[in-house]
Subunit: 228 residues, 2 copies
């Protein structure tokens, strides 16, 4: 079995989605020494090709299924509305693997900022994925912060990010990767529970959008303060 480890501490990782989040995560992982394949719908997306050329020999690109096959751990970085369409063709490639779902249920048919989600409350994108691909170990993570902060915790010290999912070992693997690759202290990654806690994490995006409007920046995060 290919464990995805290509050298001490170095992993083969897949990133699905060539947008801002996908490219930011893929770039940060390459810069940490990992081998990364960036996946797009067509497998020859110009942005993905330009990214791979720029990032050098550890970077490659292909279809979503190519990237899913390549990675020992795979990041889902397309909008939540497209998650199932993107992931269904990756079913075989993702079998038994950890899938980090960074998406949010923003309704792309609405103007920005949206005033509602396409999915909320009684379901979540992460749960949809877990139901559709039961043999994949889905871990919701990183969807509560802007992409530049996902990969650089040092810019928002002592703030919190979250993991949610049904598989404790998968969550531990993700916490370890967030720590080593993106600088999130283990104590800053809070395990919220099983995959249904993704409902809370995904609904938080509406708060994020309102805060973006009120603060005038997307570069913020939450610090949890216990009462004295």
């Amino acid at each position: 079995m290919d464990t995805g480890r290509v050298a001490e501490g170095v992993m083969k990782l897949g990133v699905l989605g060539t947008g801002h989040v996908g490219q930011t995560i893929a770039t940060a992982l390459v810069e940490k020494g990992h081998e990364v394949r960036l996946g797009s719908r067509t497998g020859d997306h110009p942005d993905a090709q330009a990214w791979a050329e720029k990032l050098g020999t550890r970077a490659s690109q292909g279809t979503f299924a190519d990237a899913a096959e390549f990675g020992a751990i795979v990041f889902h970085c397309t909008p939540g509305m497209y998650a199932l369409d993107v992931l269904r063709p990756c079913r075989e490639a993702l079998h038994g693997k950890v899938l980090v779902d960074t998406s949010n249920p923003l309704d792309k048919s609405q103007d920005f900022p949206p005033t509602s989600l396409f999915l909320a409350n009684t379901d979540s994108v992460a749960e949809q994925i877990q139901r559709e691909l039961p043999e994949v170990r889905v871990v919701k993570a990183l969807n509560t912060v802007a992409a530049p902060l996902m990969v650089d915790a040092s810019r928002v010290p002592d703030t919190v990010v979250f993991v949610a999912g049904n598989d404790a070992e998968a969550k531990a693997n993700v916490v370890s990767l967030l720590h080593k690759a993106f600088g999130w202290p283990r104590a800053s990654v809070l395990d919220l529970g099983d995959v249904t806690s993704s409902r809370a994490l995904e609904m938080l995006v509406m708060m994020w959008i309102r805060l973006y409007g009120a603060l005038g920046t997307e570069l913020f995060n939450y610090r949890l303060v216990r009462a004295t």
Copy 2:
């Protein structure tokens, strides 16, 4: 017109709901020197009677409509599921007044902790109230923290609470009251926008419930950290 001011800085205030939130808010307001009427469905709720006896001459109790009539500003502190039933009989008494809605859309038919809300995403309790009582100036506030913190900001320094609503003057009045009565620095009260931003604030209760589970305490709040 009765402005509700009975002495310099002292106000007549109404609190609807004799539960934990209502009693905590009503008590804190009396302790700050305000005259407070606590409202219940029946007007002779034993908890309300005990509260009024204990708190002394500035404290009184009656029906929801009595309390609404009494207050220059009125706090809604019953569960979100009951909001419209509680407030419809207060329509005349609340005409033109500021109503601070502290409620959350928790589904009281579920076990605690609930895994979903009775209302979310495309609507909110505050919007329901504003639609049903258009002549009332609804301000969503304080629903994101536990009752002991609502009334004592000093326990969670430099954290944030929110106001949302359609009436800027009403929001300013509420910010002033939160500042003077409960110690919330004006800079700690963030105006999220019109009443539709209550959707984000109310969905945040699911995050609050998950954090309560993960942290083991309800006595926490959020500090917003901007990236360096």
